[in-house]
Symmetry: C2
Subunit: 600 residues, 2 copies
C-alpha cells in the first residue's frame, strides 16, 4: 500500500469539475473515478435492434373484444404485477378496468414493447428528436444516469437531437423552465448521486390549466417526447400526460422511468425501482457498523428507524443484508392488526430472552412508517384531531373523556413526551404531526417502561440502554452502486429507443437483472396495465398502487424463516461500505434476487 | 458488469467464519475479502533490525543532570509534542517535570527507541515470550489488527511464544479473565472492525489493591510483557503499570498503543491515533451524501453533530474532506470565549447571506462537545446543579432569582425544550446531564428563533427548515481503511519487537505516515515524555494531556483560510464510501497530511 497524497497540503488530487452546474465543485478521488467509469449496456442495446409489440392484451379500444381484453388484462395483473390489489369481486374489478379504460381511452390496453436484435437495423428513422426530461419527487441514486442514458441514446442513434432538462420537477414543464443538456453539461454528473443536474420537485400536473401549460411547453419546444423519471404518482401523471397529448393529436410522446429508494414501484416487467439498491446498501453499511459496535460494547440496544414511509421494503432488505435481532415490518403489523403494546411486548420478550443468554445488547430495525400501519394509532390520531379542533384542553384532563375507551387506553400507554408531542405539535391545518414522532425514541421509552415492570416482577434481570438512530437522508444521494448506475443508464437508453420508435404511455422496463448486464432484457410496459382506480371526492382517480411488502413473497418468507434464529443468536453481518471495484462491487440486493428467483 | 449472485436465494456467497468468537457469524463478501487482505509491513520490520536508543533526553535519574534533562525534555515537549501544554512559567513547568520524575522514578527520562536495519539480526533472543494484550476504552477501527500484528511478530520472530487476550478491558487483567489467542482464534478478526475479539472496558487500574491484582495476574501468567491498546488515560495507566512492575523488579514490561477515533492522542513521534482515519471517512461519506441531498432538494439545512466530546479533530477533518457551509470548532469557541448567542448569530449571518444568493439550504458541522467549550454554559450548569440540589423549583420561577444575571440571561435565551431538559434530566448524582442535550436540535431551534426575528425586521426573506443528524456509533466499528489496517498492524508488530527487546514504558510509534508503508519508521516513545501532571484532591496525578485542535496548526489554518468561501459558495465534496481497492483506497486523511507537511 502506498498512501496517495490526496491532500498533500493542497487537495492536489481533487480537480475542478469541468463545466456547468457543478462548475464550482471540486470532486473527491472517488467521485472523479466514477465520472469516467465505463458503463456496460445490455447487448440488445449495443447492436441493431427492433421493437416488437407484446401479446394480445393489446386489444384494448376494440369494443367487441373489451371483455376479453379486460380479463386478459386482469389475468396479466394478477399473475405478473405484484402490486395490483387483488379483489375477490370480479364485478368490482370489472368496474375498475372499465374506469381505467374510460380514463385512458387512447392508451388503455395498448401492448407492451420489447427490444429484440435486428440485423437490418430497421427501426430507427433519421429523424432528429427533441426530447424533454424531468425528475419528479424525492431523490434516488442513479437519476443522473437515466438522463445520461437518454442523452447517449440520442447521440448514438438519433444524431442532431436535442435534450431539454426541465428544472425543478413538473413545475419546470408547466412554467417552461428548462436547460438544454449538452455533453459538457452532463459530463460532471455521470455516475454521480443527487438530482442537482436539473433538480426535482413534488408538483403534479393535475388541473385542466396545468395540462394546458404542459401542452404549451410541448408545443413551444416542439417536443417529440418527454421522459418522466419518478415514483408511482409521477408515473401515473406521465400516463395522464401521454393520454392527454395523444387525445389532442399532439406528437409529444411520454415514457416513464421507475424511481424510488422505497422500492414500492415494481412488477414483473419492472422488477425494481432505481435507487433502492444504493440506499439499502448505504443503510446496511451503517447498521452493520452499529451491530459490531453493539457486540463489542455489549451494553446498548440500537433502535434504527429507516426511511420508507409507505412500504417496509428498505427495512426488510436491510434485515436480509445484516441479520438484526428484531425487525418490524409494517405490512405484517397491519395484516396481523397488531397494537403498539403487541409490538412493544414482542421486543421486550426478545430482550428478556437475550438477557437470559447473557446478551444485554442488540439491534432493532423499525420502518419509518410503522405508526401508519397500526390501526389503533390511526384511530387515536383521528380522535385527537377531532377533539383538539373543538375542545379546550383542560389541565385536569377532562377532555380525555371524549376519547373512546380504546384510544384512551392507548393514550395513557404512550410515554409522556409523545403525549405532549401529540397535543402540542400541529400542522397548519391543526392536525397532529405524525411524521414528527420519532418512533424509535418512543419505542425505547415504551420498552424501558415494560422492562422495568418485568424487573419488578422478577422476570427480567438485565440492563437496558437504548440508542436511537434514523437513517434516511444519507441514502438518497449517495454515489450509485454499479448496479444502479448500469440499471439507470439502461433505463434511460431504453426510454430514448422507445420514444424514437414512436411509443407513448409506457414505462421503461429492464429485466433479467440477476444476469450479467449484457443479458438484461429491455422494453416498455404499458403504464395503464399498472393502473388501478381510487374513488376520491366522488370521482374515479387513476393510481399506480404502491407495491407493499407481500407477506407470502420470497423476501419476507426468507426473513420470517430466519428471524427467530437472528433474535437469539448473534448472526450479524456487516456489509461494509459500497465497493465500486473488486469484491462485492457487482452484488445485487437480496430482495431483487429472491423475487427473481421466485418468479423463475 | 456482471452482478454476482450474492444471495441467489440462499446467501451463497457468504460463508461461515471458520472458528472462535465469531463462529456463529456469516460474513459479507466485503468482510470475507478483507480477512485475507495481505498487509504490507514497513521494510524495517520485514528485514533484520536492531533497536537503538534515542538522544540524550534519556539522562533522567542522574541527579546532577536533572535540570539539563528537564530542559531538554521541555524543549522536546515544546517543539515536538503537539499536545504538551505550554506554560510560560518555567518554575511551574519545573515543578511539573519534578513531579513526573517523582511519580515515575524508574522510567522518567528513559530514551525513546528506534528500529533500524541490522544485517546481523543481533537483537532478538531465542526467548519464548508470554505476552498479554488488552483493549481499553471506546471502540476504534483497527484494534483487531494491532492484536494480529503482535501475534504475527511472535509467530515470525519469537516462535513458541504465547499471546493472552484479557477480556473486557483492564478489568480482565485485574480479574485474570483471559483467552489464549491462537492463529485460528485471530483469523476471522483480521482487518475487521470492532473490539469483539476480546472486548474492551473502561475500568482503570488505580488503587493499590488493583495494582496488586494486576501484579498477581502478571505473576500467574508469567507475563514477559503487556500491550495496552487505548487512549490518553489508558496509556497513562500503561505507564503507571510499567513503573510499578519495574519498581517491584518484575519481569513484566508494558508497551502502549495509541487508540482513539477522536484523534486527540498524538505528538510528533506518534503522529496519529488509530481509528481516526476510518471514523472520519465514514462520517465524511454520510456528510457528503447529505450535502448532495441538500443541494438537490434546495430546502434543508442539515445540522450534523459529530462524535468527539473533548477535541474537535473529527469535525475539522470532516470539514476538510467535505467543505460544509458552516463548521464550529470547539477549541476556537473556547479561545475566543464565544457565547451561545455568538455561535447562533454566526450561523444566522451565514444563512441570511446565503438566502440573498438564493440558497436556502446548507450543511453545518458541530462537534459533540460544543457545549463543554462554552464558558457561559458551563457556568449556568454549575449554578443549576447548585440550585437544584438545594432549592424547590417553584412554578412561578422564583428559583431563577438565584441565578447570576448572565446565567439567567442565557437560560431565558435557551429554547423551552432545552430548559426543561436542564431542569428534569438528572444523573444519579442529581447533576444536569449535559451529554444528553442534543446540541444540533438546540441550535436548530435557536437559529429558527433568530431568523424569525430577522424576518420581522425585514433583513431575512428566506425559508428555513432544519434537519438534525448525529453521526457517532456508525464510525467506531467500521471495517478499517487500508491506512488504519496497515497502521495498526505495524503498531502491533512494533509492540512485539519492543517487548522482545526488553523495552517498557514506551508507546509504539510508527512515523513517516505520508510515505508508502515500506518507508514508515518504527520505534517506541517514552510515555513519560508525553506526561503532564494535574493536581487532584491535593495530589499530583500524571496525565497525558489530550491533543486539542491547535488554532495555529496547519489543519485549522487551512480550514480557516477556506471557510468563508465554503460558507457562501457551494464547494461540497462527496468523498463517497471507503474503497478497499482502486481509486482513493490508499488515501490518507487531511489532518495527518497537513500536520506532517507542516513538520517537514
Amino acid at each position: 500500500m502506498s498512501p496517495s497524497l490526496v491532500a498533500n497540503g493542497d487537495f492536489a488530487a481533487v480537480k475542478a469539475a469541468p463545466v456547468a452546474g457543478r462548475l464550482a465543485s471540486v470532486y473527491s478521488e472517488v467521485q472523479n473515478s466514477r465520472i469516467d467509469h465505463a458503463l456496460p449496456l445490455p447487448s440488445v442495446l449495443r447492436n441493431p435492434f427492433k421493437i416488437v409489440d407484446g401479446p394480445a392484451s393489446s386489444a384494448a379500444g376494440n369494443p367487441g373484444l373489451f371483455l376479453l381484453c379486460f380479463f386478459t388484462s386482469l389475468h396479466f395483473s394478477f399473475y405478473f404485477c405484484l402490486f395490483i390489489y387483488l379483489d375477490p369481486f370480479l364485478i368490482y374489478l370489472n368496474l375498475h378496468a372499465n374506469e381505467i379504460a374510460k380514463l385512458f381511452p387512447h392508451l388503455f390496453g395498448q401492448p407492451s414493447a420489447l427490444l429484440v436484435p435486428d440485423g437490418a437495423d430497421s427501426v430507427r428513422s433519421d429523424q432528429k428528436l427533441k426530447i424533454g426530461v424531468v425528475l419528479s419527487g424525492g431523490q434516488a441514486p442513479g437519476g443522473h444516469n437515466v438522463i445520461s442514458g437518454i442523452f447517449d441514446y440520442l447521440q448514438d442513434l438519433a444524431k442532431g437531437s436535442i435534450l431539454y432538462g426541465f428544472r425543478g420537477g413538473p413545475a419546470g414543464i408547466m412554467k417552461c423552465k428548462y436547460v438544454e443538456l449538452t455533453a459538457d453539461y452532463i459530463y460532471p454528473y455521470r455516475n454521480q448521486g443527487g438530482f442537482d443536474m436539473i433538480c426535482s420537485g413534488r408538483d403534479k400536473i393535475e388541473t385542466p390549466e396545468q395540462f394546458k401549460q404542459a401542452e404549451e411547453t410541448a408545443v413551444k419546444l416542439d417536443l417529440d417526447g418527454l421522459v418522466v423519471i419518478g415514483g408511482d404518482d409521477s408515473n401515473t401523471n406521465a400516463c395522464l400526460l401521454a393520454e392527454n397529448f395523444r387525445g389532442k393529436n399532439m406528437k409529444t410522446r411520454v415514457i416513464g422511468c421507475p424511481k424510488t429508494i422505497d422500492g414500492d414501484l415494481k412488477c414483473k416487467e419492472v422488477p425494481a425501482s432505481f435507487g433502492f439498491d444504493t440506499a439499502c446498501k448505504i443503510y446496511a453499511e451503517m447498521i452493520g457498523n452499529v451491530m459490531i459496535d453493539a457486540r463489542s460494547t455489549g451494553k446498548y440496544y440500537h433502535f434504527v428507524r429507516l426511511m420508507g414511509r409507505a412500504a417496509s421494503h428498505i427495512t426488510l432488505e436491510c434485515a436480509l443484508q445484516t441479520h438484526p435481532n428484531i425487525t418490524i415490518i409494517g405490512e405484517e403489523v397491519a395484516a396481523k392488526k397488531l397494537t403498539l403494546k403487541n409490538v412493544t411486548d414482542y421486543m421486550v420478550d426478545v430482550i428478556c430472552k437475550r438477557s437470559e443468554l447473557g446478551y444485554n445488547y442488540g439491534v432493532i430495525l423499525i420502518p419509518e412508517g410503522l405508526i401508519d400501519f397500526i390501526p389503533e394509532v390511526q384511530q387515536l390520531i383521528a380522535e385527537l384531531n377531532e377533539i383538539l379542533a373543538h375542545e379546550i384542553v383542560d389541565e385536569e384532563g377532562l377532555w380525555k373523556k371524549k376519547l373512546t375507551e380504546q384510544s384512551l387506553k392507548l393514550f395513557d400507554f404512550l410515554p409522556q413526551a409523545i403525549q405532549e408531542q401529540l397535543m402540542l405539535e400541529r400542522d397548519p391545518h391543526g392536525n397532529v404531526q405524525v411524521a414528527k414522532i420519532e418512533t424509535e425514541k418512543m419505542l425505547i421509552q415504551m420498552v424501558e417502561t415494560e422492562l422495568e415492570k418485568r424487573k419488578q416482577e422478577g422476570s427480567y434481570k438485565g440492563n437496558f440502554k437504548g440508542q436511537s438512530h434514523f437513517f434516511g437522508y444519507e441514502g438518497r444521494c449517495g454515489l450509485p452502486t454499479n448496479f444502479d448506475a448500469s440499471y439507470c443508464y439502461a433505463l434511460g437508453y431504453a426510454a430514448g429507443a422507445l420514444l424514437h420508435s414512436g411509443k407513448t404511455g409506457l414505462i421503461s422496463s429492464v429485466g433479467n437483472l440477476a444476469a450479467p448486464v449484457e443479458q438484461w432484457t429491455v422494453g416498455g410496459t404499458a403504464l395503464t396495465s399498472l393502473m388501478d382506480v381510487e374513488r376520491r371526492h366522488g370521482k374515479f382517480k387513476p393510481v399506480i398502487k404502491k407495491a407493499m411488502v407481500e407477506l407470502d413473497g420470497a423476501p419476507f418468507k426468507k426473513f420470517a424463516s430466519l428471524r427467530e434464529e437472528w433474535a437469539i443468536k448473534n448472526c450479524y453481518i456487516s456489509p461494509g461500505p459500497i465497493q465500486f471495484v473488486g469484491p462485492a462491487s457487482n452484488a445485487v440486493n437480496h430482495t431483487l434476487l429472491l423475487e427473481l428467483d421466485a418468479q423463475a
